[in-house]
Amino acid sequence: MRALNAGGLGRGGRPQGAADAIGRARAEGRAALVAYLPCGFPSLTASIDACRALIRGGADVIELGLPYSDPVMDGPVIAEAATAALAGGFRVDDVFEAVAELAPAGVPIEVMTYYNPVFRRGEERFAGELAAAGGAGLITPDLIPEEAGAWTRAADGFGLDKVFLVAPTSSAERLRLTAAACRGFTYATSTMGVTGVRSSLSELARPLVERTRAAGADNVCVGIGVSTPEQAAEVASFADGVIVGSAFVKRLAAGRDVEALAAELREAARP
């Protein structure tokens, strides 16, 4: 399947979005693997190399984190990696450089960023630079659709994905609103809490995915506290994609390779 996308460009000469990649995984009878790593950790080049390893391991979508000074949705593993990246001199420009390096592999790159770096740069300029680098879109954990007017206009103008989050506490009305605002996929947070490795998958995940689908979402991927092949298999039984972050970051922080874990998770993510 991957050969079909050599060059990394989809319709209209733009990079393909996450929906295409999730659809291809579905056609193969599995859930998509959405793999997260922060840009600039432990260094810019090392983070690009690690993302390449995720792609070799079979990640269907790369979620590239933009390190931010105040990451309120992140637990200690990812927060400490962000702090280290910033201490190492990370700049927002580095994300566009990393995206440009990675995009030709043909796997969509979604940048995970808190809102202020986007607002500060200007939504239009941010979207333009991301699109020019070949990025697929943004995942915005502290931006709700009602506050996202400027980002929505910019993303629509450049054909970028807009991934908003839903939570177990989201009302049916908010699930409809959020599902309608998303392009690419809808990010379902499996539990109430911040990113991090947990021993078991939250029982809140499955009903949230079902409610989000009923609210009109085509592609629902589950993240927060998904780290093992067992958890990935469980998520794959009811969701369109499995989002894994802290487990990769932990491995990278320990100086270990992330490719094997990506391959294991991809193989496990079958219903």
């Binding site: 105040d70 910033l86 809102y115 709700i144 939570a167 908010r174 959020t178």
Partner: protein
């Protein structure tokens, strides 16, 4: 204008938080809206303010202090005399009553100087709520007295070791706790910042400062002040004071931020003076940030003002020109701290000393006919160690 309900104050405010918190913010907004129009809630809060917090707090004219500024009259609104030693009690009593209405059993709070943490721990003790206070590690060291007070009151104090280890990081950690425990936990936010409904709600609970002060000026002095002054960190005592005077065109509104070592040195907390609009801790407002939108760490001798953000209504008031904001250095604040202590026998919190220093400058500028009202937001007992070091005692 005094009743701007949020979520927006011009282009500022809003809700820039994870979706997981939206249901809780909606629930809190609804509970607050219902409480606002419920006479029983108002009566209970007024009763507690009177018999528990010691309101109304007096208005004190400080003649010897004012003589330092060339003859203008200076009046202090004595929030330092409120229970727990600062204006923070006004807000936490309101939010703790709301917590009970929500049926929640646990409260969390952030604190910088420890005044809001002490006030929250106090209200939690009074109402039988579990209480966890997040405080930056650096602040637990420079405000050790307040850490001990919170623990004696039965609160758990968590020393936050991430980031700059001050108020900003305490708020991050409190937000992480809230995302995780929102089902049984209410976040008692300490300042007029954060996501809606906090900026409007905290202002409303603190507006008692301005209402009382305005009535006292009219009854005891026979006129409104030329200028109303307060220190601004997140901005809760100042917005509480300002809110009563917004429609009084003849009353200048003056906020004084922390200039730390001096705004030009980069080591300061003068958000409105030197910041730019951005989104932090749930709201759009002025913010100390770099070109990439990363928050810049603030610096101030005052833990309570050591914050790189500010409440959104202040950003609106700055842009509209209705309020004027200036910055006061550590040195100027400590000079005013010494003057009020020595000349009046009133030891102010170092936060409040920024407002006093600003008032001295302003009184000189306005001349001997001016009548200057200053919110003395807290007392200085907690700062004795810092002050002793500063003055080499």
């Amino acid at each position: 204008m005094s009743q701007m309900p949020g979520p927006y104050f011009g282009s500022y405010g809003g809700r820039f938080v994870p979706e997981a918190l939206i249901a809780a913010l909606d629930e809190l907004s609804a509970a607050y809206e219902a409480a606002k129009t419920d006479p029983a809630f108002g009566a209970e809060l007024d009763h507690l303010a009177r018999v528990y917090a010691g309101r109304p707090t007096p208005l004190t004219e400080v003649r010897r202090f004012a003589a330092e500024a060339g003859g203008a009259r200076i009046f202090l609104k004595r929030e330092d005399l409120a229970h727990t030693g600062s204006h923070k009690i006004n807000n936490v009593l309101g939010q703790a009553l709301l917590t009970k209405r929500l049926g929640k059993r646990r409260v969390i709070a952030e604190t910088g100087a420890g005044q809001h943490g002490v006030a929250t721990a106090t209200a939690a003790a009074l109402m039988g709520l579990d209480c966890v206070v997040y405080m930056g590690l650096e602040d637990t060291e420079r405000q050790a007295l307040n850490v001990a007070r919170m623990r004696l009151l039965g609160a758990e104090v968590v020393a936050v070791k991430t980031g700059s280890r001050t108020l900003k990081d305490a708020i991050n950690e409190a937000l992480r706790d809230w995302v995780t425990n929102v089902a049984d936990t209410n976040y008692v936010f300490g300042t007029a910042a954060g996501p809606h409904p906090f900026p409007a709600m905290v202002r409303d609970f603190q507006s008692v400062i301005g209402r009382e002060a305005r009535a006292q000026m009219l009854a005891e002095v026979g006129r409104l002040p030329t200028a109303a002054c307060a220190c601004v960190g997140g901005g809760s005592n100042s917005i509480g004071l300002f809110s009563a005077f917004l429609e009084d065109g003849g009353v200048g509104l003056h906020g004084f931020e922390a200039a730390g070592d001096g705004v030009e040195t980069g080591r300061h907390a003068a958000t409105l003076t030197a910041g730019a609009p951005g989104a932090l801790h749930g709201a759009k407002s002025y913010l100390l940030q770099d070109a990439d939108g990363q928050t810049i760490e603030s610096h101030s001798i005052s833990a309570g003002l050591d914050y790189p953000g500010v409440g959104p209504e202040h950003s609106f008031l700055k842009d509209s020109g209705r309020a004027v904001y200036r910055a006061v250095t550590d040195a100027a604040a400590m000079d005013a701290f010494a003057k009020l202590t020595r000349l009046e026998g009133i030891m102010p919190a170092i936060e409040s000393a920024h407002g006093l220093a600003g008032a001295l400058t302003l009184a000189r500028e306005l001349g001997p006919e001016a009548v200057v009202l200053v919110c003395l937001s807290g007392r200085g007992d907690k700062d004795v160690e810092t002050a002793a070091r500063w003055f080499n005692l």
